[in-house]
């Protein structure tokens, strides 16, 4: 049994909105660090590299 076209369109539209919602907390996180002028992921990378050398 096939899906109705209107339902398909509705699902597709809501899926696109969902992609935006999934991106929201990541964008918020990056915005927060941009505002604070911090790049904690760089410190984390350095720490990982240092511990790997030890």
């Amino acid at each position: 049994m096939a899906l109705e076209i209107s339902l398909k369109k509705r699902i597709l539209r809501d899926a696109l909105i969902s992609l935006f919602i999934y991106a929201l907390p990541v964008l918020l996180l990056l915005g927060w660090f941009a505002y604070k002028g911090e790049k904690p992921w760089q410190n984390h990378q350095k720490a990982v590299q240092t511990s790997a050398r030890e």
């Binding site: 919602i21 999934y22 907390p25 904690p40 984390h44």
Partner: protein
């Protein structure tokens, strides 16, 4: 204080929730909230759904987190531990619950998927006993479980502890036959809190409506109210109905009291009940005409 809260959630994610489910289940049963509908077939199904996934699925998820992911993405382990707790919690909450919203919604809207979710809706009652009542295939492919396992693996385990605990509490209480939300509608000064609550999280009123056996009374709404922890998704996508009332009947109209093992293990085991959706050669969706009705014309939420 922080340690106390941490301990509570650690406990909840361990055996705490199972114990809580038992206690509430016993309370519901003692209060006669299941009526006479909890017969042997229903009991066996609810008990199988409650216990067996814990013995099969939990080790599978543990295997994914402990063995499979380190093999496939070894460098990603703990790579996001720099994310602050609040953001980690927000990420887990949205990713886990929005994914479950879609998983759930598609099982209602795609006819091919309906029979994998039907077991959860066949119960003619609400309560703790049916909160985990699902077909095994539906449980195995619970998409958000694996997504959250990946997020825990990359370093969001600590916020996940709290979000998962809170989510389990909300979804358990939304399925309960104890209508904890009723005072919020009846006591006037609590009304504003109710307004926020019912739009944010799943409540017995909105989730019971999803389990109604009919939509004719304007209270039941099994074609919407798909949210699990957050009801907000239903508000955003127009699949919400808020009435602050509880349906008169639960379950599905075409329920033939299919054998517990067929409901639990379909399509591995099929029902012997003639004409059943779970029988050999049975219809994908029995009320096909009704299922094809436009789903969204009625999808509006009451102006409370």
């Amino acid at each position: 204080m922080v340690h106390l809260i941490e301990d509570i959630f650690k406990n909840l994610n361990g055996w705490g929730l199972v114990t809580l489910t038992f206690i509430l289940g016993i309370a519901e049963f003692s209060l006669g909230l299941y009526g006479k509908k909890w017969n042997t077939n229903e009991k066996l199904l609810d008990i199988a759904c409650f216990t067996l996934p814990k013995l099969v699925i939990k080790p599978l998820v543990a295997y994914v987190g402990v063995t499979f992911l380190p093999l496939v993405i070894p460098a990603a382990k703990d790579s996001l531990t720099w994310i602050p707790f609040a953001f980690g919690a927000l990420i887990i909450a949205i990713y886990d619950d929005l994914t479950q919203y879609w998983y759930h919604r598609l099982h209602h809207q795609v006819p091919f998927l309906w029979r994998f979710h039907r077991t959860h809706h066949s119960a003619p009652y609400m309560g703790m006993a049916m909160a985990s009542r699902q077909n095994i295939i539906y449980t195995i492919f619970f998409s958000q479980t694996y997504l959250t396992t990946v997020l825990v693996y990359v370093g969001l385990g600590y916020p996940a502890l709290f979000v998962k605990g809170l989510k389990s509490l909300i979804t358990l209480l939304a399925h309960s036959s104890i209508k904890w939300d009723k005072p919020f509608y009846e006591i006037k000064w609590l009304n504003p809190i109710a307004w926020v609550l019912e739009r944010t999280i799943s409540t017995p009123a909105t989730h019971h409506a999803h389990h109604a056996d009919s939509a004719d009374d304007g209270v039941g709404y099994y074609k919407g109210n798909f949210g699990n922890m957050f009801f907000l998704w239903d508000i955003i996508f127009g699949t919400a109905l808020i009435t602050r009332q509880y349906p008169a009947g639960y379950g599905i109209k075409n329920y033939k009291e299919e054998e517990w093992y067929a409901q639990f293990l379909w399509p591995i085991f099929k029902s012997k009940k003639e004409g059943s959706e779970l029988s050999k050669g049975g219809p994908e969706v029995e009320d096909e005409v009704e299922a094809l009705q436009p789903l969204f014309e009625k999808a509006e939420y009451h102006a409370y």
